[in-house]
Structure formats: C-alpha cells, structure tokens
Amino acid sequence: MRLWILALLLTAIGCGRSTNPTGDHPQRPTVPEVRQLIWGDLKCQASAVCQNPVLNIHLRNLTLFFERSFASPLSAVDSEGVVAFRCGIKIEKEWRQRFGLPQSDKDFDVIGEFALSVIAPKTCTHTTDLSSALQTYFTSTNEYKNENR
C-alpha cells in the first residue's frame, strides 16, 4: 500500500517515468497521464506528442528553466538592442542545452513565440507572474483551443 502511494506521488511530480526521467526531451514521448496533470486535458497528449513542442515539456521544468536563467536582468551596461539580441542568443543556447535543438524551423518559431510570451527582451527577465504567463500561453495554443471548443 505504501509503495503504491509512493509510486503515485512520484508519478504525480514527474519523477517516476522510467522512459524519460526529466520529462523534457521533445523527441521522447512522456507518459500522457503525467502531462494531464501538467498542462490539462489535451487530446494530443493521448498520442504522446503534441505538435507544439512546448507542450511536450513538463510545466515544472519550464518554470524552473525560466526561474533559473531569466530571473535577473542580463546586463545593465548594454543598450536595449544589444540586450534583446543577447537575450535571443541566451535562450537559444540554454533551451538547446536543456531541451534540445528545435527539430524544424516551425518548432523554432513556436518556441520563439512562446519565449517572448514569458520573457521581456528589453531586460531578458521573465514576466512577474510566470505561472500566469505560462497558463495564458497554454490556453492560447491551438491544441487547447481545438479541444475546448
């Protein structure tokens, strides 16, 4: 009984997946039930892979990613344009390192739009209410809209 509860808890927090412990690799399908707890009830989860590459990443990992790397301004000495440019380089490099290289130009664009919805390029910091920004993005996705008509 205790083991069963422990397994359930680990599953719920995303640590119990034997196929993908971090749950953040876009190529490897994650366990649908887990994502249901993360992003809500999306039919694309049933097929294990969403067309939107962002939705294939664990919400908690995304939150940690932005909280770790985009909590403080990039640099106060650079002009705004340089900060925005360096911010683009930064997120591209760190996203690649954390979640892998976008597979297609379309994925690249989708990730860029997503990043801009939670990051202010002028300062290269995430929005004040990161959780809300992520939820807003989620509800703006075609996957969500299609399945919640």
Binding site: A84, G88, L116
Partner: protein, 329 residues
C-alpha cells in the same frame, strides 16, 4: 650619335576591386596592392634616336629617358678616367675607332662606367605607397645578354663567347647584390668597348628577375568569414519581422544566429561580434533586413576584416631591357 634604348618594366597597378563607401584606408591599401606586381607598362613615348650629353659634372647621360616618372636610365662616366675624352671620340656615331675602346680595356685602364636604371614607377596612384620606402634583394635574375656581330667588344676578340660569358657573370653577380628598390646599378668599369656597344644598341641587355622586398605591406586578417555574412543575411531575409516590435525582432535575430552556429552553418562568434554582423545587415532601425546587393555584402564582409601595415617580405617581378629601338616595337 643615336642611342637606342627601350625599357619594359613591370609595375604595379590599382586593383579594380569594389570600393566600399566606408572602406577604411587600410582596406584600400590592401586592395591597391593586390595586383600591383602583375602589370606591364611599355613606355609609349619612345621615338626616334636618343641623344646623350655631358652634364656639368662631366657625367655622360642619355637624354629623354625620364618619362612620366616611370623610369630613367643613366650612364655615368668618371671624369677621372684616363680615357675619358677618348671614349667619346671613339664611341661617337659612325666612328671607325670603336675597336680602340677594346684596346683601352685590354690595356687595363680600368675606366669607370656605371649604368643605372631607375625603374621606379609613378607611385601617385597607390594609396599605400607600396614601393617607395623599401629596399630589396633579388632572389634570382635571369640576364639576357646578346652582342651584335659588329659590336666593338667582340669583333676582334679571340674568344668572343668567353668574353660575353665573363660579362654575363659579372653583371649577374652585381644583380644579386642590388638592394635599393627601383634602381639597378651596374658597374661596368674596365669594359670601355662593351659600354659603347650598350650605348649604341649593339649590345642588348635585358633582365627578368624576382626580388624579395621588405615592403611595408598591408595584410588582412579575416575576423568574420565572408560566407557567414551571406548565410546570416539570407537567413534574416527569410524571417518575418514585425517592424512594430523592435526588441522582439532583435531577440528573434539573436536566436536565429545562435541557431545557425549550432547547426554549424556559420562559424561561432562571440555575442558582440554576432550583434555587429546582425546590425550591419539590418536597416537603421534594426526592424528589418537592409536591401543589400552582392557587392554591398562584400563590403560588409570587408568591414569585418582587420588590416595591419607591416614590413613583410614580398616577392615582385622586374623586367627591363636595353634593346635597339626597332626591336622594341
């Protein structure tokens, strides 16, 4: 007395490369020296006989040989020569006593003659004055020396071939010792009859050589691969930019260049260099790519290179000939 002479000289030329609006002086220097050693100029003003004269110091000079600053030739005859006056008498046009010059040689008078050829080209076209302040060393000199059958120095010579060979060795040895750029100086002391043959066009002397100069040259260091500039520009032009959201466009461009690096489609550059590349390819507001032609892109590439002016060993070609005028046409 007519003196026949023509010179063929290799001189530098300006490059016809694209000149960018904001090209640095160093870049222009670099462009200007790209092909300077491969251009042949033949003096077009040679016509008729060329007279010689004695200058106020008693030196004997060819006349009308300084043309357009391209080159000049000079024969200096020492006033102290034992046979100073005889030389002019024996070497006069149509003189039947030219063979007496041979006697002067064989008697060991050792009269001093110096032939010098100044082949320094007009350098005003060159932004970097590539040759004006250097010295050089010939790495080889291909000397052609031919004497007419009636040349005073061989007409009564017992072994003319041996004498010509002796002259060739003497001149070749001197060519190897030249170290002033733009001037070749040949000491022909003791060769009264050969000097006369040279002056009268009965001896043809031509030199083709490669020389090692210590020229102050401008060198280029590639900091940004030119093809990367093109790749980035092509990538930028395929993007859709919303000109109303400046920072978002810049952010997007940063990601794009970083992605090109990750895909190894361009070399890796630091953030600042990447930003400079990006900025050079966008319009002033940085909201959309600038409209750039191929030559514009070339200029952008050039703007990322550095140019250093330094003394660098450099090979260049020299060719000049003393020839009868008719043969030079």
């Amino acid at each position: 007395m007519k003196y026949l002479l023509s010179l063929l000289i290799l001189v530098p030329t300006l490059s016809t490369a694209q000149v960018c609006k904001n090209a640095s002086k160093e870049m222009l220097r670099f462009e200007s020296q790209k092909t300077w050693k491969d251009y042949v100029v033949q003096d077009p003003s040679i016509q008729g006989g060329i007279q010689g004269h004695l200058d106020e110091n008693g030196g004997f000079h060819f006349q009308q040989l300084s043309r357009k600053g391209a080159f000049s030739a000079k024969l200096e005859i020492s006033k102290d020569n034992k046979g100073f006056r005889q030389f002019f008498r024996y070497c006069a046009k149509d003189s039947i006593r030219a063979r007496d010059l041979r006697s002067m040689r064989r008697d060991g008078e050792n009269n001093h003659y110096v032939v010098s050829v100044r082949y320094l080209p007009d350098l005003s076209r060159f932004t970097n004055k590539p040759l004006a302040e250097q010295r050089f060393k010939m790495s080889y000199a291909n000397l052609q020396l031919n004497l007419n059958p009636d040349a005073a120095s061989i007409v009564a010579e017992y072994r003319p071939d041996a004498y010509v060979e002796e002259l060739r060795e003497k001149i070749s040895a001197q060519l190897k010792e030249q170290n002033e750029f733009g001037v070749i100086t040949l000491d022909l002391s003791g060769h009264d009859d050969f000097v006369c043959d040279l002056v009268q066009g009965k001896a043809q002397l031509s030199v083709q050589s490669q020389a090692l100069s210590l020229a102050p040259l401008t060198t280029q260091t590639v900091l940004v691969n030119p093809k990367d500039v093109i790749t980035v520009y092509q990538a930028l032009t395929t993007q859709t930019f919303d000109t109303a959201i400046r920072e978002a466009n810049i952010f997007k461009s940063g990601r794009l260049i970083s992605r090109l690096e990750a895909q190894r489609r361009i070399d890796s550059y630091d953030d600042k260099k990447s930003y400079d590349i990006f900025r050079s390819l966008m319009d002033a507001s940085l909201t959309q790519p600038a409209l750039l032609s191929d030559s514009d892109l070339q200029c952008v590439s050039d703007s990322f290179q550095t140019y250093d002016r330094a003394l660098i060993p450099h090979n260049f070609n020299i060719r000049f000939s003393f020839l009868p005028l008719g043969d030079a046409q």
